[in-house]
Structures are given as structure tokens and as C-alpha cells.
Symmetry: C3
Subunit: 390 residues, 3 copies
Amino acid sequence: MLTAERNELLTRFGRGTPVGELFRRYWLPVLLGEELPEPDCAPVRLKLLGERLVAFRDTQGRIGLIEEFCAHRGVSLWFGRNEEGGIRCPYHGWKYDVTGQCIDLPSEPEESGMRKNIKLNSYPAIELAGVIWAYLGPADKKPQEPAYDWTLAPPGNRHISKRLQECNYLQAMEGALDSIHSGFLHRYSVAEDPLLKRDPESLAMLLGDRKPKIFPENSPAGLYIATRRDVGRDRYYWRVTQWLMPCFSFFPPYGGNPYGGHAFVPIDDEHCWTFSIDYHYLIDRAAQKAKKSFSGIRGVGVQDAAIQESMGPIQDRTREHLVSSDNGIVKTRRRLMDAASAVARGADPPGLDPEAQRARAVSMVASRELSLREAIAREQRSQAETVSSA
Amino acid sequence: MLTAERNELLTRFGRGTPVGELFRRYWLPVLLGEELPEPDCAPVRLKLLGERLVAFRDTQGRIGLIEEFCAHRGVSLWFGRNEEGGIRCPYHGWKYDVTGQCIDLPSEPEESGMRKNIKLNSYPAIELAGVIWAYLGPADKKPQEPAYDWTLAPPGNRHISKRLQECNYLQAMEGALDSIHSGFLHRYSVAEDPLLKRDPESLAMLLGDRKPKIFPENSPAGLYIATRRDVGRDRYYWRVTQWLMPCFSFFPPYGGNPYGGHAFVPIDDEHCWTFSIDYHYLIDRAAQKAKKSFSGIRGVGVQDAAIQESMGPIQDRTREHLVSSDNGIVKTRRRLMDAASAVARGADPPGLDPEAQRARAVSMVASRELSLREAIAREQRSQAETVSSA
Amino acid sequence: MLTAERNELLTRFGRGTPVGELFRRYWLPVLLGEELPEPDCAPVRLKLLGERLVAFRDTQGRIGLIEEFCAHRGVSLWFGRNEEGGIRCPYHGWKYDVTGQCIDLPSEPEESGMRKNIKLNSYPAIELAGVIWAYLGPADKKPQEPAYDWTLAPPGNRHISKRLQECNYLQAMEGALDSIHSGFLHRYSVAEDPLLKRDPESLAMLLGDRKPKIFPENSPAGLYIATRRDVGRDRYYWRVTQWLMPCFSFFPPYGGNPYGGHAFVPIDDEHCWTFSIDYHYLIDRAAQKAKKSFSGIRGVGVQDAAIQESMGPIQDRTREHLVSSDNGIVKTRRRLMDAASAVARGADPPGLDPEAQRARAVSMVASRELSLREAIAREQRSQAETVSSA
């Protein structure tokens, strides 16, 4: 159970709030690449960490992410015309480039020098792995471009979608860190998952131990959240979810199926985008084909959203009762609070290092003699070889 | 005209408010019995006195009325599965019985002892006379089961429905205590009332004195609100509405038609349920049949709701101007305030005694020589005989 | 850029606010005459300067504008019956005349004297030039009836409509004082304006100087806002918009087409009515006919509303950046603030004098040797002759 202060701390995103400032230190997914399909396409308005923004792709293909409202008289640039190197306000024709700089101010003589001083707030935005990413933090702290495992998969081996959830990001993200709920909320959906059906060995191990143990461990960029099931007398079935700062989670595939994961991106205190990511490295045409007839996914997502939204816009965690299998959640919150404190003290938060971001979820059967760390290290070495050979 | 403080006092229901605590001392109608039609049926969520609750009927038919949100991570139990002796949260399978006690906590070993300590708030709920009733007050103050006159009528002689009103309970209830408005708001609807048409004598007396006098008098459980019309030179036509603490009103029938009444149950400060109750003791098949073609009722209810809601969510009674025929309303408010003070002082409020609850509305023509009390006493004695003989 | 205090000052209308009190010193358009089409027609409810009112036309044709809620128990008189000299509350039949005086109180004996003391707030309302006008200020300050130029045009030479805007009146009105935006927001709509097409000379001058200069000058009732374009080497093309206190603007016609203008009437802080007025003095049947097929007008209005509402309910003017061509807006705000201060000091605001209200928008081509004042004076003299001869 959290104190009211900590629940507040973990769920608020305004500029200047500790967790708001923490999130502003990372590249965050904000749009699908296809939402800005071509140069000079229609602009898109969006809210991110409570800030109202407009995104556009200029004539040269550069992405702009600037304040929504014109500096002149406050008109929404969502009504703007995206043309010849900038977005033009429809009211009096003021025009801005992707940096927010005013580049045309028709109603004022250029000699007045006014135009040069007009600049809307803007944020760096890049397109990577089919997603538009933005960085809302201080310019001198901008990290390297994101290098999460899935961003390195070949474009054809990746599928990304997003859905709106009418609740705070934290209750959506906590659902992804909690493998126990699958046995309840998704029980019948999981059993009908065609990908899992193709991996009868994993399914047997999942069903063989209905009371798994959860081991969350710090990783360089976040946490390993390992779920351990007994297999016979001498082996464990480990499934290791990667939680990566500040809002990513990835779970391991069943057999040769794709990896999956989510990004939970705060729109404002009471709404978030849930990005869903599937990816693999080996081109498995059969799996791709199977995916087309994959009917369970949508069901599972709707199940999660319904349950998470049912807690109200911001769950009152002063009334919760966590149990031992919630230790992944407990540790995630602790990691977020520590990282927010670090940022507040002027230190860097974890997970900015591309090497650390490349963490991959793991599923493995290992001897009981191996510790989790040893088993993960061995598995990751063999996975690293997969990437280079793919 | 009320002071702002008194308007506030009479219209607020949060835990700890005087009138909120007063209402928590009574059994209140909360659902129609048919809303929980059978054991293990779908749960129903509801709000009562500002508290969010979920109601269910368990495998044995017991009614549970418990907090809406799971103690674990705050999921709404409206999404729950009502099964084998309790309602199970769909997220991680925590299960609660009708007392709110957690009876299964699959993700934690029973040995930890945690499960036993998990208990959601719950309230006693019973089914009586086609209605689910709840008691939200202190356990040691729980009154006897309700015994209002209509709860004693045979099941087939009773019809109960409810409608939502988007206003505070008080302005809905005040409408029911005020017989004057029928001559205006319901003028044409009343005249077309097929039940009244069957009682031409009453109709003639109603039309014969358009300026009746109102006499509200304390009764053991609330008030008699008597409307007196002159009939010829030596008789009065009395119609006595029973207002029973804290939110019931019953009006007398015309001729041999059914009795009618309402319960006005606070959902929260700005919404209430209006339960409508018709009942009779003698099986009058013709009246039942007539009722099927009764077209006016719905119109009358909609008339009341429109007018009462038009006052705004909570009427500003500092701007009202009450007149002498509003004396029933004045006295009702006084009775509510006194009862709230009594509860605040630690005393019991009136109307908990089943004998007092059995008050029945009265319509009678009596000699002018009889006082109202004498006339009522005589009439009630003859009615009591009706019940026992029915 | 305004300080937050001044933005607040200019946009708030509650009773007692400086600009709210300023507006209460003027007759304001509140309804179209056709909204109260005949004696005893259905009442209309409306909000004006944040006050909830009901308007009706009584049996004798007098217009009533009174508080929305019955003095008895707070029912909305919008549900009332407008009959025989007053509006009757549907709940208990209290009846009010156009002054708000209760003229029937059926549930109370007349001898009690209560009825005479019941009086709802009411405001003077008149019908003039197809519009219902109201005065919400102190009785002893009531100005003469409005005498704006368009109110003097013959009834058949006038067309008035209104639309709701979901934003504060000021951002709607500022749009009308700013002729620059036409070259952007309405560019293609203006070029297709059939009335402008009939005046190729004006169109050529408009297109011939895309960077006009704006000269706002105090006038007795508000401001002249003159837009000056070069025509050849020795002449200017002047277009002079009249802004009249507190919320009227009129623009000059192209060629022989009608004059046009707007009234921006505050409903509450976040909504306004935009009345659109077209009028002319010479009966030009061809123009009337053209107007029937006039398709651009609606487009232009929707363009303005979209842009003005996109600024949010109340634009944050602490973030604007005004330029030299916004000088009309700057001066208008200054004029409003000065007038509000004057009223607060106990002085009269400008623009109450009918002579001053008769200001008419001007369009003219004049020698560069004439100053704006001289050119306007000459033009207005010739216009005055037009009225008397029409």
C-alpha cells in the first residue's frame, strides 16, 4: 500500500513534478510513423506529459514537434497549413519551421526584426523503427537515440499499434509487470492463443505450476522480472520480463513466435497511450501468416484496458493490498522513485545507455543449480549471437 | 426560505454529515429484487449515499452488498465473476463472500495468513416485498426489518418500479409532500386518470374545493400531512398523506383503487432513485386490469421529474418563498433536522419501530365535529381490520 | 501581450466585475425578434453576462425578461405557461408579468399580502430593428434606445442572424477588428464572394497592396479602425471599420453592396452570441437577389468561429505577440479598460449618445493629401445625405 504522497508522486506529470522530470529525460514514443505519412501531410495534434503539441513532417521530411498555439494570437496550429518548409497559421499567415522558429510573419515588415524573436517551444523528434519519438527534456541532457532490442529488428519483422487508455499510465504499466493476472484475466484467451498452441511444451509447463514465484532483480536499464515454475524435480522454467526505464516492458516469446512488449506513454495524469510491439529476428513466414488470423490479441488488450480503467482515472493505492507476487510492481515503483530522486538531485537516471536498453526478454528451461543471473547471462549470450547471425 | 447552512445540511450525504448519518440509521430500498434475479447472477454496481458498492446474490441466494473495488489493486468488482459462494475479481482471482471477507487469494500461500485479514466493507442487505434493502449504519444500531404497510401486502397485490432523477432527493421528496401542485402540474393528467374516473364522488369533491387547507401533524414515524376540503356545510373531505422517516411518502387511494407511494433514495448529493409503489390488500382484478391500460402514470412521473430537475441539481432554498400550503414541507424539513440532531447527540431517530412504520395513508369524509386526530384514529382502526381480514 | 490581470479584467462578466459593469450600461442584443414571434408564444431561456433569464412576449405584446427561476420553489419558468398577461409556473401556478411582479399566487389567500411582495428580478427589454435588446444596468442610468446606423435602415433592407461561439466574446470581437486575417483565413472565400466579384475595382485595389497599414483612431462611440492601401502614386484606398462600444463592429461595403457588421454578446465567460447584420439604404433588388445565392457567408463565419474557438475558451493573452497591424485590437482593449475604469469611478462610458452610435463604416479612395480625419469627415457628410434621401 502506498502513502497518498507516493501515489501522487508516481502518477503526476506536470513540468516540475519529480516523475514528470524523470520522463522528460528519455526519448518517448509519441506517434506511429504512419500518422505523419509524407512530407507536407496534415499536422497531428497530441498531448504528451500534459503538454499540448502539434506534430508535422515538413517538405524535406523533417519532423516538427512544437507548441500547439500560434505565438501571435493563440490559434491552434492544428488548423495550420503544412507547406514549403513549415506550418502556417491560418489566421494571419505566421509560419514556423520544425524548430518552432517563425520563418514568415507577413503582417510585419521584416526590418522590424520581430520575426526573428518569435520562436515556439519545440522538442527534438525522430523517426525510428516505425515510431515517432520525442525528447522533452533539457537540451544539454539529450540522450543517444533509443536502441531498444525491438528497434534493431528488421522493419518487416515488426508490428506496432497503439491504443488509448482512459487511466494513468502506472496502472496500465503495472498490469504488464504482473504475469499472475494472465492465469485469471486472460485464462481462456491465452489457451486459445494460436501462437501458444504451437508451443505445447511451454503450455504444459505453464499449466504444470499454477503458483509460480516472481523474482524481480535490478538490471542496468530497469528490472528483470523473472517468473519461475517448477519443471519436474531438477529444472526450472524461467520467463523473464524486461522492464526498461521509464515505461517499457517486454515479454519472451513462446517457442519460435515473436517477442512482444509495450510502451506506456503518459498523455496526461488520467490518460495514456499503450503501444503494442511484436517483433522477431528470424523471418518466420508461417508465424507471420498465423498472425493474420490471430484473433486473441485484440481480446487480451481490451481485457487489460477494461480492468485497468475500472480502477478509476488514478487508482487510489492507499487502499491496495499487495501480495508477494506483486514484488515486481513494488520494485518497479521503487526504481521509478529512486530515479526521480536522482534526477531531482541532478544525477542521470538509469537506462539512457543504448547497451542497457538492448535488454531482451527471456524464456528458458534451466537446471536448478544455476542462479537466475547465471541462467540469464548464458541465455543472453546465445541471443546476442542470434541478432548478429540474423 | 432556508439559510444556506440549512439547505446544505438537508441535502448532503457524505459519511459524517448529519443527514447522511441520519439516513444510515434506516433500512433503505436500493434495488428491485428482479435486478438480482437468481443465485450467481451478474453483479450490479450502485451508488448509495455517495458510496460506490457492488451487489450480488451468491450461490445460496444470500445478498452481498460490498465495496465496489477489490482490496488488492483496486479493480471494479462489477467486472467480477459471481461463482460458488462469492464474487471473484477478474484480475488475479481474489474472491469475496457476501460479508466482504476474502475467501480465496490464489496468488498468496494460505499459510501467510494474509487472506484472513482482507475484508471489504460490506453492509447488511435483505430482500423484502420485492425490494433489496440495505442498512449502512453502525452494526449495533441495526433496526428491525422494515415493516411499512406496503411491505405487508401480498406479493401479487404490489407493483414497484424506480426511476432515476438528476437532482437531490429533497426536491423530489418535497414534491410528494405537496398535494397542491397536482391541481396545476398534473391538472389534465389527473383528470384523465382512469382510476380517478372510476371514483366520480372523490373527483367531485376534489374539484369542489380548489383551495384546500393543509395540516401537517407529527406522527410516531414522521408526519401526517392532511389536506382538508369542504364538502357541503357540515363535512370535510380529508386526504392524509403519510410521510415516514427518512424518505417515504404514501398517499391514499381514490375509491377502491390501490394505495400509492414513493421512496426517494439518495444516490449522491445530486441524484436520487424515485421508487414508485402501488399496493392494495383486496384482490381487485378489475383494477389490476385497468392498470395495464393506465397511460397517465408515466406522464405524471415525467412531469414531476422535469419540474424537480429544473430547479438545478440542488435547489438554492435561500431564494425560495414558501407559503402557507407549504407547511407540510416546512414541517418535514424540521423533522429531518431534529432527527439528524438527535442522531448526532447519540439518540435514536424516530420511525425505527415497525409499529410506527405501518402507518397508512388515509382518505375519508368525516363530520366537521371530529378533529383530524380523531378522524384518523377511527379510520386506521377500520383499516387495521382490513389487513387482518385480507 | 497582456498581463494575466488585464486578460482577466477584459474577459470576465460576473456582476461587480469592471467589464461586466461596463456592459451593463448599454442596451445589448439578446434575441432575434423572431424568437418571440407573437403574443403568448413559448418562452425562451437565455443566459446573458452570466445571468440565467427567461424571455417572453405577453398577451399585449410586451416583452418580459426576468429571472429564470420561480420565487416559490425554484422551478425553471422555461417550463412555464405564457398566458393572459404573464408567465405561469407549471408547479403551483404562480404567475409573473413582464416586470417580474407576481400577479397570481393561487395557493395563498390574497388577503395575506404575500403576493404583492413577490417580484423576480427583471430587465427592460425592447424590440428594435428585428432584435430584442436588453438593459441590465442600474435603472437610473438607463440610456436612450439604441440608434446604431443599421437600426435606422428600413426593415426590408436588413438581414440579421446569430450563431453561438464556444469562446469568450473578446477573441471573437478581436477577429472583427483585424482586417489582415481576411487575406489569409478567408483568402479563397473572399475571392469567391459574389458581392466582391461585382466590384472589380475594389478587388484590384485589395490585391494591389497586400501589406496595408492600420490606423485606429478614437471616435465618440469607440474607434475608427482605418486600413490604408496604396493606389498608384497619389491616392490611398481607405477602408474604415467602426468599432462601437461595447461590442459592435461594422465594415464598409464593396461597391453598392450592403454594409455588414457584428455584435458580440457575452453569454458567460466562455461563450458568446455573434450576431451578423447586413443592411443597406438604397433598395437594390439585384443585390438582394444575389444575396440569396450568396454561398460564401456561411463559410466565412465558420472559418472565424473555428479559429477563434481554437484559442481555447478564454485565450491566454499573456502568451500572445502582437504586431503593428494589431494596433486596432490594442486600442480597443485600452478603450474598454478605460471605459470600465470610468464606470467604476462613477462616470458614464462613451457611446451612449445616439448621435455617436450612428457611426457608419467607410470605404473610399482619397487623395494622399487628405488626412484620414478629413477624408472620413468628407465621406460621412455625403453618407448622411444618402440616409435622408433614401
